[in-house]
């Protein structure tokens, strides 16, 4: 990373000094900082100040003071009985066979925008499938990825706090579990949620437009077992959504209070609140 954008910056700023500390400046810049540090006590003081941060962190989280629970160590020591039980718990573990299951998916994820587009197309089909058994897919959602107030999912997105699970009226045995609320870099309010049933589900992100929620991305997940359950199935798909959330989120997710305020305001929060 040698970089043109660095050239304009003063070598005294925290960005450069921090990058210097990590030995990640281009060679010429490393030398320039070294000279400045030698020549100017003020620069040296600033560098030391940053260095002390690392030292304090290292001391507060010293590896030899970190304890790891036996239950986790045992999972790694005793292969035959570790982890979740499977059909063959007493015989030869079959996990080795899973090892190559998701590399292809991982490679796919590296091109996020393209993959995102592909997966949006996938939503249409998948959601239609979910809703199909005895009634036709709800118009709008399955096709356009827009959830307006006529759609059963709308009120779930509008009023359900993260962490809670609700049944979606008018759909076929479906439940929705809200996971997270956040604001995007562009100021939109978005929610990450699961929709589906115990067998299969879709993890999705919807963002609030003027009067509807727009589905931004979705991927197949393993099913919503209960409000408390952590999905361990479909890790590949699900982490794909996590990456999307990560890439679009501004700051931290909403805490319970912020979320309540957003719900009360019917998602019309001023930006930067």
């Amino acid at each position: 990373m040698s970089d043109d954008h660095k050239k304009g910056a003063s070598i005294f700023d925290d960005d450069v000094l921090s990058t210097y500390l990590d030995g990640e400046l281009a060679e010429a810049d490393m030398l320039a900082v070294e000279k400045a540090v030698a020549a100017d006590p003020a620069v040296r003081a600033r560098l030391d100040r940053l260095r002390r941060v690392d030292a304090a962190l290292g001391a507060a989280l010293r590896l030899d003071t970190i304890s790891t629970p036996d239950r986790v160590k045992d999972m790694l020591r005793a292969p035959a009985s570790a982890g979740r039980a499977n059909e063959d718990a007493n015989s030869v573990p079959v996990r080795g066979g899973d090892v190559v299951r998701f590399p292809t998916f991982f490679r796919m994820r590296t091109a996020l925008p393209m993959a995102a587009a592909a997966s949006l197309a996938l939503v249409a089909g998948y959601v239609a499938g979910l809703m199909q058994p005895s009634s036709p897919p709800a118009p709008g959602f399955a096709i356009a990825g827009v959830v307006n107030d006529a759609h059963p999912l709308f009120s779930a997105l509008e009023t359900t706090p993260s962490g809670e699970t609700v049944a979606v009226k008018g759909a076929v045995g479906e439940i929705v579990r809200l996971l997270l609320t956040y604001r995007t870099n562009e100021g939109a309010l978005c929610r990450e949620f699961d929709i589906g049933d115990a067998e299969r589900s879709l993890r999705s992100v919807a963002c609030r437009g003027a009067d509807a929620w727009e589905i931004k991305i979705a991927a197949a997940a393993g099913g919503i077992t209960s409000a408390q359950a952590y999905e361990t199935a479909s890790a590949g798909d699900v982490s794909f959504i996590a990456d999307y959330v990560d890439a679009t989120m501004d700051g931290d997710p909403f805490d319970a209070e912020d979320e309540k305020a957003a719900i009360r305001a019917e998602w019309r929060l001023p930006e930067g609140e």
Partner: protein
């Protein structure tokens, strides 16, 4: 079981304290860190890693994804109780040799950083990953890692300046 998997388990066992430390930096709480660690190991065991992946980096990445996906959602739900919970600290009261800050002061300052800064500084400053590696784990561009790291150090330095009376 394959030989390869045997190696993976040994590597993971060795890696456990570092992974746990990352979990601590992410969650800020001993109990949540243990849960996150367990979920990470469960997922690694059930899903494996791509044959060409570096298991260390892969493990941190899986851990980060689980944190973002699952634990954070739970944390949002129980946000009110988090600050009230007593800090669990194996060496409570000890003060760092360097800055004369209590360990809890440092941990609490870390906890107050925005999540992505916390992640960047623990991957690079604590775990010694290069910017490139941290970028791969976080799924962010290198430049972003660099600036998060710099902001994290500046923010912590400011907190520490206040906490430590100059002498």
């Amino acid at each position: 079981m394959t030989v390869k998997e045997e190696v993976g388990r040994a590597v993971l066992l060795e890696l456990l304290p570092r992974l746990k430390r990352f979990c601590l930096a992410l969650t800020g709480r001993e109990h949540d860190a243990d849960d996150l660690l367990q979920m990470t190991v469960e997922r690694l065991l059930s899903k494996g890693a791509p044959a060409d992946a570096d298991l260390t980096k892969w493990s941190f990445r899986v851990c980060k994804n689980i944190w973002i996906d699952e634990v954070r959602a739970r944390k949002v739900r129980s946000a009110t109780s988090i600050d009230d919970a007593p800090e669990v600290n194996p060496v409570d009261g000890e003060r760092t040799a360097v800055a004369h800050l209590s360990l809890n002061q440092v941990r609490s300052a870390l906890k107050d950083l925005p999540e992505e800064q916390r992640m960047a500084i623990s991957l690079v400053a604590l775990e010694g990953f290069s910017y490139q590696e941290a970028a791969e784990i976080m799924g962010s561009p290198i430049g972003t890692v660099m600036s998060r790291l710099s902001r994290a150090r500046a923010a912590l330095a400011a907190v520490f300046d206040e906490a430590v009376p100059s002498h």
